[in-house]
């Protein structure tokens, strides 16, 4: 076969590498920032979507709160018909219930985002809903925040060990226990704890957040009381939550047990604990960080009932009371705060992830 001269390919260098200009250029040079901006944009969309859905959901609930209020007032005072109509109209405006559904929505969103105003609370009229909510918020953050984080830490550590020592008796018992108990409602545990520790043994209190005879303040006395009163509610969440994290961490740990880098680490003669923490755990804990954020919504659900049982002055009790009294603004307000908190937590964790994981490229 005769050799033919290979076809000559000319490359037009002038077009090949003209650098992109402007914002695109900056974004491609800073992929992390591009990711952050994109993620934040998604967050805003999610937030808006969730708030809109909840608004319409609640507005479609039957029952007219203003009428109820008026009826209550009418039982105490006597009004003439004219004034009643005027009063009703005024109350409607106050509570944002005038106009059709869509204009109510626009007005509500306006007030919420521009003024942080959630409208007046029905139960505590004329106190605005946000005041009521903000009073309760720190209690819930304390209870839920500490319990959730504690459960995560305990669960991930125990789960990693359970996966690491897979097959051994301790690990098997722990795993089976976790499977059985991970999905028990916190409420059930709370009931049992109350029955045993508060009712039967009388060791721990079953109501409120602190001893009412102590004045609130940053004193060891007060803090001690807060901790004592928070023990049972917190425990309800921590116990079940831990089992859940044990299970999921173990599921992440087991598939990597045969990985080459673990064999290599063993060949290096490193201590077992070091291999567990720096080689095994570090390679499987990252999904759990994301999972933590996602679990917060679920934990809040359970938290509501726990708070209610203990009459703990947090968002949960506020919500339940508001529901029973049809205090729309408070219901909506609590829900919105919860949604906002959870979505923000997820956002923050998602932004944290690239910093923790050197492998994944976030500029897709």
């Amino acid at each position: 076969m005769t050799a033919e001269a290979p076809p000559v390919v000319t490359v037009d260098k002038s077009q090949a590498s003209a650098p992109p200009t402007g914002v695109r250029a900056w974004l491609s040079r800073h992929p992390l920032a591009a990711y952050a901006i994109r993620r934040f944009g998604l967050y805003l969309v999610e937030l808006w979507g969730a708030l809109t859905i909840t608004f319409f959901f609640f507005r479609l609930m039957p029952g007219d709160p203003v009428r109820t209020l008026i009826q209550t007032l009418q039982q105490n005072y006597i009004y003439n018909a004219e004034a009643s109509a005027e009063l009703i109209a005024r109350y409607r405006t106050e509570f944002g219930l005038d106009g059709n559904l869509f204009s109510q929505y626009i007005k509500y969103m306006e007030k919420l985002f521009l003024h942080g105003d959630m409208g007046p609370s029905l139960i505590n009229y004329p106190t605005p809903a946000q005041t009521v909510i903000l009073r309760a918020l720190p209690w819930t953050i304390a209870l839920l925040g500490i319990s959730a984080v504690l459960a995560w830490i305990l669960g991930v550590i125990i789960g990693a060990i359970a996966g690491w020592r897979r097959g051994k008796l301790g690990s098997r018992i722990t795993t089976n226990l976790a499977i059985a108990l991970a999905h028990v409602p916190y409420f059930f545990v709370a009931l049992i704890l109350v029955y045993v520790f508060a009712y039967t043994l009388g060791m721990l209190p079953a109501r409120s957040a602190y001893d009412s005879s102590i004045t609130p303040g940053i004193t060891p006395e007060f803090i001690g009381s807060v901790l004592k009163y928070g023990l049972l509610p917190g425990l309800s969440i921590v116990v079940i939550g831990t089992f859940g994290w044990i299970l999921s961490t173990r599921m992440l740990m087991v598939p990597i047990l045969g990985e080459d880098y673990l064999v290599y680490a063993e060949a290096k003669g490193l201590k077992g604990s070091r291999i567990l923490t720096r080689y095994a755990l570090r390679n499987c804990y990252l999904p759990q960080i994301t999972a933590f954020g996602i679990s917060l919504g679920f934990i809040f659900n359970g938290n509501v009932l726990v708070e209610q049982l203990f009459n703990y002055p947090g968002l949960g009790t506020t919500l339940v009371t508001a529901i029973q009294q049809l205090d729309f603004n408070t219901i909506l307000g609590v829900t919105n705060i919860a949604i906002f908190s959870v979505l923000t937590a997820v956002l923050l964790l998602d932004l944290l992830l690239p910093l923790l994981d050197p492998r994944v490229k976030y500029w897709k």
Partner: protein
């Protein structure tokens, strides 16, 4: 070069599967001389990798060592049977006296640790006194295998196959062990990189007096690198000897086949 650093006698390794036992290594007797490069040759399934893994005490169920001994004579320490020693004693022995060079194409490097940390943890584990000199030690080790100091701050996924293999080589000799067991050091690498790796391995012996046990199915590797070669077939050692002698005059039929399988320029394959 007549001192023996590892004396293997009657080594048996069995895989206990659900449908019966498989003998991967049968009664292997082998002596490794200090300072030599000993090649272990054979096809897949001959038991050569199992032999290495068993000696390194990295064998996991369903594999079990079912017989034999491997007397190890590390310099400055009392002799010990590699197959009997356990627990803390074994851990202390690891790397400082006996190290492992796995295939670069495997994921032996921890994906979430930088290269320098992968040096650090093993050096500090066995020689904590060297902590102060790490800053100069790590770049020097990398330089010996032809890698730039900046590799130290990289993550494994940023390295090519050849670079990874060389990092593993540098880590393998970081504590100047008596014996390095290398498992398929050139497999899955470009031919050009293979040349570099083989040269680096030879240099390890020349510069540091390290004893090398090289496992490879590629006879060409043994031809270029080994002093002596041991041929394994179906779990048994069928021939051992000086590499040139074995190539010139193979005693066993299987050895002959292995040698013939090396592609050579200008020669047609016998039909």
């Amino acid at each position: 070069m007549n001192e023996i650093v590892l004396d293997i006698k009657g080594l048996d390794v069995t895989y206990r599967a659900t449908h019966g036992d498989v003998q991967a290594v049968r009664g292997v007797d082998l002596a490794v001389r200090r300072g030599e490069i000993l090649g272990i040759a054979g096809e897949s399934g001959s038991g050569k990798s199992t032999l290495a893994v068993a000696l390194l005490r990295l064998l996991k169920p369903p594999g079990h060592v079912t017989g034999g001994s491997a007397m190890f004579h590390p310099a400055g320490r009392s002799p010990v049977d590699l197959l009997e020693v356990d627990g803390e004693e074994l851990r202390v022995l690891r790397w400082s006296a006996l190290s492992y060079l796995p295939q670069g194409s495997m994921s032996s490097l921890n994906p979430v640790m930088r290269v320098q940390e992968q040096f650090k943890d093993v050096i500090l584990e066995h020689a904590p006194a060297r902590k102060a000199s790490l800053g100069e030690l790590i770049p020097r080790l990398l330089g010996q295998v032809g890698l730039e100091p900046r590799v130290a701050r990289m993550y494994p996924h940023e390295l090519s196959g050849g670079m990874k293999q060389r990092v593993l080589m540098a880590i393998a000799v970081a504590l100047e062990p008596d014996l390095v067991i290398a498992d398929e050091p050139t497999t899955a690498l470009d031919v050009t990189i293979q040349r570099v790796i083989l040269q680096s391995l030879a240099d390890l012996r020349t510069d540091f007096g390290v004893t090398l046990m090289v496992i490879s199915h590629d006879m060409g590797v043994h031809a270029q690198l080994a002093d002596r070669v041991a041929v394994m077939y179906e779990g048994r050692l069928v021939e051992v000897g000086d590499v040139r002698q074995v190539f010139k005059d193979p005693q066993h039929a299987y050895t002959r086949q292995l040698i013939e399988s090396i592609p050579r320029l200008g020669r047609r394959r016998a039909s």
